[in-house]
Amino acid sequence: MSIKGQAFIAGAFEHPTRNAPDTSVAQLHAEVARGALADAGLTKDDVDGYFCAGDAPGGLLSMVDYLNLKVRHLDATETGGSSYLVHVAHAAEAIALGKCNVALITMAGRPRSEGVRTGTVVRDGNPAQPDLQWENPFGTTAVNLYALCAMRHMYEFGTTSEQLAWVRVAASHHAQHNPNAVLRNIVTVEDVVSSPMVSDPLHRLDCCVISDGGGALVVVKPEIAKTLKRPRVKVLGAGETIKGQSGGDVDLTYTGAVRTGPAAFAEAGVTPADIKYASIYDSFTITVLMQLEDLGFCRKGEGGRFVADGNLISGVGSLPVNTDGGGLCNNHPANRGGMTKIIEAVRQLRGEAHPAVQVANCNLALAQGTGGRLGTRSGSATLILERE
């Protein structure tokens, strides 16, 4: 059994806010839920499955009650920023099994308003978590745990800061067309490598923005999708995993996408060469480069050359990536970029991306998420979507 063709993304909504000091996180969840349902042409009462992750205040209990949903299927899978890609896959599984017909997935948060120094501060976490006593005392933060991967990648494969910078340059070229993006200025490789060093070799412009906001998706069974007016985006394949420190057999040269990419491609029955557009989680520039390798868009170690010279810029390169500006320029709500990765892939498949970045004849797209920290533990999730 497979989820291929068993479910469609019928509604997608990205909150336009990037700074929401006067809106509660719960309210943001409600606003994106309403937005995605309106986009689909469905109502709250049509929802019979609900999905949320660690950003949802009070989890399923509070959110289902707050939104006043009457659901028969629930899922609060939490794998950091990759959670929402997993949710789409799980929603497709549930729909295929008849456990629900209309699945609502929401995410929202306001780290900017709350003054969270997302990348550079040691976060307490759960004191019962078995790993933190072996990490936090050494000053581990999001940025330095991704920097460790970048350093090793440079050592093993000769990747350069200038190559990493091209990921940011591409994002900035896309973000100039996104009126909601936090950063709309075009930057050059020189701008990136001359920005202040945060944690070697990652400069400030190798890091994503910190922003408020959120997004939501509505996943429905095929019979319902066919009754709706929106272009149909079919779920073709998916993969999910966690990659950790392997009991001390640490290998920082790859991400969990080495497992989730092949799984998703096999289920979808397509190859990387077939993909017209890719949303690739971009917490940091290195995150994109490594996932592109692991998904098979280029060979391991060749990511630096692959991303260089505008190869990720729509209309310029061979693989348009993150045409909304991504986490590097557009937004990174709740410090979780997986939702917006799916939403931009849906826009591309519907032909509703900004005309300046819309990929011609975009019938097949991939969305890739990473969650947690690539240097210690990270989720990976891959989705392959098709315009029907």
Partner: protein, 122 residues
């Protein structure tokens, strides 16, 4: 801070002894310490004195901090790789592959296992 399955490590550290968990069933060292072997799920974990010698697998100078510091993974002579700091050295002279040796850094509670460049061998 410490929890029971890792307490022997911190107790030894307080005595300036560096020990590692080794599985008596599969023979492998692991990190971070667990009561159940992460390779074979045996509970026959034994604490073994370790050399404190290792090599930098990866490192980064965290500069966005009031006092810059180095986060690193060090691969120990015993074969397992641990997250740590590199201290008491010129951060800009560090390199992946460099030999390092363990030093215990005093803290308010148990000393922390960190590393410093090993003296150059002739």
């Amino acid at each position: 801070m410490a929890i029971s399955e890792s307490q022997p490590f911190w107790d030894a550290a307080t005595d300036d002894r560096f020990i590692l968990p080794q599985c008596a069933s599969c023979g492998r060292y692991h990190w971070y310490p667990r009561a159940i072997c992460p390779f074979c799920f045996s509970d026959r974990i034994e604490w073994k004195p370790a050399s404190g010698k290792g090599r930098i697998y990866s490192y980064t100078v965290m500069r966005r901090a009031s006092v810059p510091y180095v986060v690193a993974y060090v691969t120990l002579e015993e074969g397992t790789t641990m997250l740590t700091n590199i201290v008491d050295c010129d951060f800009d002279a560090l390199a992946i592959g460099q030999d390092v040796r363990l030093v215990f850094k005093p803290t308010g509670s148990a000393p922390l296992p960190v590393f410093t460049p090993a003296p150059a061998t002739a």
